[in-house]
């Protein structure tokens, strides 16, 4: 598992290096239409450069999970990192003052907006927290298949 993660990480570092789209004004973006940005679209991706202000491994602010408050050149941005277990597995620790680069895009959840991270990079280390379809990596099932079977066990 560890080797696999490192291999994937290397690929993403290269991907980030090639990225030319600089996302610098996420917090100033026009309030997006909830329907248009409700699902992840890799073609809209950009990158966010900044300094960690605050890291929460388990925030109850929707979408629940790990959140990062990043100070960019033009203000602070709330970044959703998905499941902190993925960062832990990738041995990526985030602390205030760290310089980070985030690949992702702005999404909405209800009437609020957040920056959905796909890749988090700190120095030469990068960890993917979503795939290109926006799937929040492990775990993401809210109700297990077995429980769905239990629901169908009603006879």
């Amino acid at each position: 598992m560890k080797a696999s993660i490192q291999s994937r990480t290397g690929a993403f570092v290269l991907g980030i290096a090639l990225a030319s789209c600089i996302f610098a004004n996420a917090q100033q973006a026009k309030q997006p239409d909830a329907q248009q940005l409700r699902s992840y679209d890799v073609s809209r991706e950009g990158s966010l450069l900044g300094t960690v202000v605050k890291f929460e491994s388990a925030s109850s602010t929707p979408p629940i999970g790990a959140h990062l408050l990043v100070q960019t050149a033009s203000g602070q941005v709330d970044v959703h990192l998905g499941n902190a277990k993925v960062l832990q597995a990738g041995h990526l620790e985030l602390s205030p003052g760290d310089s980070v680069r985030i690949v992702g895009e702005l999404l909405t959840l209800g009437d609020s907006a957040y920056f959905a991270a796909r890749v988090v990079q700190k120095g030469a280390q990068a960890v993917a927290v979503r795939n290109t379809k926006g799937f929040v990596l492990f775990p993401a099932s809210a109700m297990t298949p077995a429980q769905k079977e239990a629901l169908r066990g009603v006879r």
């Binding site: 979408p63 832990q88 379809k133 492990f138 775990p139 099932s141 297990t144």
Partner: protein
């Protein structure tokens, strides 16, 4: 091993950390009811789906189990077999060499299965609650020096044997969910695979149709395949275990026959899909004009923000759909849908029981809600969400749809003893730091005057330590069956308080299928994404 022990140690503070301060340990009163050890007797097909933390692992791994165990009615497990899929790593035909179980008067109990492989024996543990002597709900509560694992599931008495491949014959609908076998897109990723097939007595599937949502990508097509004996594992013949192998639309499975109307599957080619196929009756409506019923539904899965649940109901009079209510929990964001426009239902003339239910949710006018369903009868089926916006499919989610009967619901008919189970994700503080992780709970409660009192076990997996015998209490608020024109005011709700050394209260929206069964999902407090079932004990 060291890491596992560290987590075990750190996890002992789980419930305290999660629920605030407090001192005294509270235990439920002695159980009362009609069940005993003798209530669990016979061969039961079981399934769980959750995650496992094994010795030497850096992280927990998704885990599915399916198998059979034989209970002797005296607290002993005498035999059995299971198949395990851990995130695509498959272990076939593990012998259940023994074990033990207890059943309290209230139907709650504990089940231990001894697994023998390569000359060594280990054990896995479950918390159970009987819904009858023929079936029950369970959660994986394994927490020992070899592994910690959790997951929700059920067990159903196996009947109709001795079995042959021909025991499975006729039309069936299926719903397999879990993880795909894609290894190239940071996967395995979520997949929902639903459909219908017709198998003959020789085990050949020649007709059928499927709908697949694999990592937010929809596809559909014909189903061909076959059922066969597993000649590689002759120690567990289909005649006595109901176990065999199948190929469905190009995917490989092990199956267990519960009875000729229900077959249980677990995938064996890379991905981790599991689910049931249920015999399709000839009561399935052929014309949409034949549909005249209210339905409750529940789906769960993944969105781009994290976990998602949707629970709701609608009324169909032919193609006309009214009284749509839906409650969504999208990664902790709660979205109540109190009305719908352009709601309709249609049937696919080419595939018996297949149809589509669509409506426009005023909360998401540019992403019309769409579900494809496969009915096993006029009143029951499986459901896959296919809602899309301009960017594509928004969720990978599936579940159940069931006709709503027995209303009006009231304190008169919502009464008696109920088993309950919920599963999903919650924010947990066990281990080195707080994360979201799987939560499973199984319990039993007596409902009287719409008040609940009972007991439950919970496993919040970040701690790797289950908590047993919590005191469960709460209340149900009945506002109707959803057919009122008052929208949000016709929702039923439930509050459940769990107490051990400390307490927490979880609030749910509830959709009664009938007085014996309800679907529910939390609709407040964005630290959970869980959904579950209440089922009256028989």
């Amino acid at each position: 091993m060291k890491r596992l022990l560290l987590i075990f140690t750190a996890g002992t503070a789980l419930w305290t950390a999660a629920c605030g301060g407090g001192n005294g340990i509270v235990n439920p009163p002695p159980p009362v009811g009609k069940y005993s050890t003798a209530s669990l007797k016979g061969q039961y097909v079981f399934v769980t789906n959750g995650e496992v933390f094994s010795v030497g692992a850096n992280n927990a791994t998704p885990l599915a189990r399916t198998g059979v165990f034989n209970a002797d009615g005296q607290g002993n497990i005498t035999a059995g077999v299971e198949d395990v899929n851990a995130d695509g790593t498959i272990t076939l035909a593990l012998q259940i060499s023994g074990g033990s179980y207890t059943v309290n008067a209230d139907g709650r109990g504990a089940l231990t299965l001894n697994i023998t492989a390569n000359g060594t024996t280990s054990s896995i543990d479950f918390g159970i609650v009987l819904t009858s002597t023929s079936d029950g709900l369970l959660i994986d509560e394994t927490s020992n020096s070899n592994q910690a694992s959790t997951g929700s599931g059920n067990f159903v008495l196996q009947t109709g044997g001795p079995f042959t491949v021909g025991s499975v014959a006729g039309p069936y609908i299926f719903d397999f969910a879990g993880l795909d076998g894609n290894q190239t897109n940071l996967c395995p990723c979520p997949e929902s695979f639903v459909g219908q097939f017709d198998v003959n007595s020789a085990g050949t599937i020649s007709t059928g149709f499927f709908d697949d949502n694999d990592d937010f990508l929809l596809s559909s097509g014909a189903v061909v395949g076959n059922f066969a004996q597993d000649n590689l594992n002759p120690s567990f013949p289909i005649s006595t275990t109901g176990r065999g192998v199948a190929q469905i639309a190009g995917q490989d499975f092990v199956f267990y026959i519960v009875d000729p109307t229900r077959v249980r599957f677990i995938s064996t080619n890379r991905g981790m899909l599991s689910g049931d196929a249920v015999a399709q009756s000839n009561t399935v409506p052929a014309q949409v004009s034949s549909i005249s019923s209210s339905f409750a539904f529940i789906v769960a899965g993944s969105s781009g923000s994290g976990g998602v649940t949707r629970v709701g109901r609608f009324t169909s009079n032919g193609a006309t759909v009214t009284n749509v209510l839906q409650d969504t929990n999208d990664a902790g964001r709660f979205i109540p849908t109190n009305s719908a426009t352009t709601a309709s239902i249609s049937l696919d003339p080419a595939t018996p029981g297949r149809g589509t239910f669509t409506f426009t949710d005023p909360n998401f006018t540019n992403a019309p809600s769409k579900y494809v369903f496969y009915l096993s009868s006029a009143t029951q089926g499986v459901l896959q969400e296919q809602t899309s916006n301009n960017s594509g499919v928004v969720n990978v989610a599936d579940g159940s749809i069931t006709a709503q009967t027995g209303s009006p619901f009231s304190s008169t008919n919502i009464a008696g003893t109920y088993a309950f189970n919920w599963s999903g994700l919650s924010l947990q503080n066990g281990g080195s730091f707080a994360v979201q992780d799987e939560e499973d709970i199984v319990g039993q409660a007596t409902v009287s005057s719409l008040s609940l009192s009972g007991a439950a076990d919970i496993f919040q997996f970040q701690s790797a330590v289950p908590v047993f015998d919590l005191v469960a209490s709460g209340s149900i608020s009945i506002a109707g069956d959803g057919t009122s024109s008052t929208g949000s005011s016709s929702r039923d709700t439930m509050s459940v308080k769990l107490v051990k050394s400390n307490s927490t209260t979880i609030n749910f929206v509830v959709y009664f299928v009938n007085p014996q069964v309800a679907f529910f999902a939390n609709n407040q407090d964005s630290n959970r994404i869980v959904a579950g079932i209440m089922k009256a004990q028989q």
